[in-house]
Symmetry: C2
Subunit: 346 residues, 2 copies
Amino acid sequence: MIDPAEATVDGRPTPTLEEVAREAGVSRSTVSRVINDLPGVSARAREAVNRAIERLRYVPNEAARSLVTRRTNSIALVVSEPGDRVFGDPFFAGVLRGIHAGLAGSKRQLVLMLAGDDAGDEGEALENYLCSGHVDGALVVSMHGSDPLPGRLATAGVPVVAGGRPLGGAGVPYVDADNFTGGLLAARHLVSGGRRRIATIAGPEDMAVGIDRLVGWRRGLSEADLPTDAVVHSDFSVDGGAAAMAELLRRHPGIDGVFAAADIIAVGALRELTRQGRRVPEDVAVVGFDDSVFATSVTPALTTVRQPVEEFGRTLTWRLLAQLAGERHLPPSILLPTELVVRGSA
Amino acid sequence: MIDPAEATVDGRPTPTLEEVAREAGVSRSTVSRVINDLPGVSARAREAVNRAIERLRYVPNEAARSLVTRRTNSIALVVSEPGDRVFGDPFFAGVLRGIHAGLAGSKRQLVLMLAGDDAGDEGEALENYLCSGHVDGALVVSMHGSDPLPGRLATAGVPVVAGGRPLGGAGVPYVDADNFTGGLLAARHLVSGGRRRIATIAGPEDMAVGIDRLVGWRRGLSEADLPTDAVVHSDFSVDGGAAAMAELLRRHPGIDGVFAAADIIAVGALRELTRQGRRVPEDVAVVGFDDSVFATSVTPALTTVRQPVEEFGRTLTWRLLAQLAGERHLPPSILLPTELVVRGSA
DNA sequence: CCAACTATTGGGAGCGCTCTCACCCTTCGA
DNA sequence: TCGAAGGGTGAGAGCGCTCCCAATAGTTGG
């Protein structure tokens, strides 16, 4: 334990508002006004205070501040995922980067919270925590099924924005990529490449991202009067993608095109196709989704649907900050464009 | 803005200690004792309090608490990186997962902080922030050069553990993988495979992780009296790896083995080798480092040095928590074992 | 010259919690 | 029977800050 006579930079005790005030020859109130950039302070006083702050290396005590203002200057990033996957996914990484970029200059901290496994006891604890004013707002990403959390938070008055369309449909604002159009573009590309027996390795059935891409793909095939029955679901992993590809080949040996709902899945599919001696793209064309680092790290490079991951994160943050700032008439949901990137695999 | 008459779960105002006390028919002190699990409370009172807490859905106000205890129940994860890379790196992802796992059950929150670009103004702000008791401790990872931050924090009395050996050498405790041995194992494997003209694509020159692996590789070649001059540095990216490989082939066309300081670099190297018509492993053997998802997503699968990423994160957290708990005689540094995983590329 | 303002400032009351200390009420040994 | 020794409890004083309100100084108009 640290000595109660708390030490800070070069061993002096942490200065308080009071001490800054004394040093500057003004009152606490004035210092507070300067710190919070409130009007009604003479230039002279303001300058004296700033000098004192500089000299004492004063940093406001966030705890004291948030005790009275009931703001915490921190927002939570809640990841509704068994925790095991999430990180490691280039998509999530990009989003995180975007979130951070969006937060820069806002003086707010990012608190990372993994909503462990299924609801259970921990889920309730998390909800209570978030609802009790420990964060100013929350970003909820990677939801499965109709996760009640975002809705509950919103109901409790905690500003929340979902990353990815919430399945429950609760009136929670969200930001998402245009997954439907992405799936549609992928399907159309395969069709226009002359493929006739087109399958898809869809994402998890309980996530909007999986569903929307699948629906887009279906539409693309239907437009061309092609069958849409070659569907297998997979989680977002290489091995999952490989297993799904194997299953697909078993059920529909005549496949000549595959749309994988994520690059990482496509990588697995590619591996399985190669293993079984099918050439890509000659025998089977493969289209991925994400345009992540995986897309260009395999041979042949993946034709894939690009989604603006970093913008995704930035937009998410922006939306929440705007809400926190009390802005009105914010769009309830924002869809970011997706586009096809053609490379060697299809 | 939210109505000052703050609302929480189902719209009731946030309950305070006082109200719980009233509800339970005891005093604030007793409730506080129950919450903090302190002795000296009769079973009857304890139960009454717990019931009241349950009924009111009471959650302690962290701000008020930390104002008086001077603990925040949160620790910072400081990533000293231009922010652009970091995430997206499966290594970092794994560490993050480990950190989170290590934190589970400790009631502490993880606050993510990116130490933007070079020191500058922002660097000082970050340092002040961390030194002013806003977090109980800090984990600093991905340091470049002789980053002064960890040393400064330690001096200021902020418990800190570095992830990766700090180059400055400041007496900051750290956790790291045994990179030297990893490099050594990689080199020996290439040598024992009959390779005679062995190169390396080392990591950044200003990071311990890059240096240590390089030194290990050198030792491995020296043992076999092989030259150690074929060295090119690269950042941790596919494109960087490809460029480095191209450079290497230009300078040393006779290369028959390459040790890449990271799988992601190896992926780039593989791409360039393929592009130039060299077969792997027939013409050139490639060994990576990390045993990340990339290792098995390319063809041929990478022979690589595995480091226990998740354990890395867990150990980091454990070490910091132990320090926070006031444990004495903690090891100043911890080296985690690395091992060779043989696959197709070498 | 005074009332009526406005610009600037300081004082004080908490925010919700922890923690020390004094005060019970038992129980027990002498 | 009384004093000592505790276990259990509650009152009170802040932690460092914000924010309301009153006070003061400086202007202006009538």
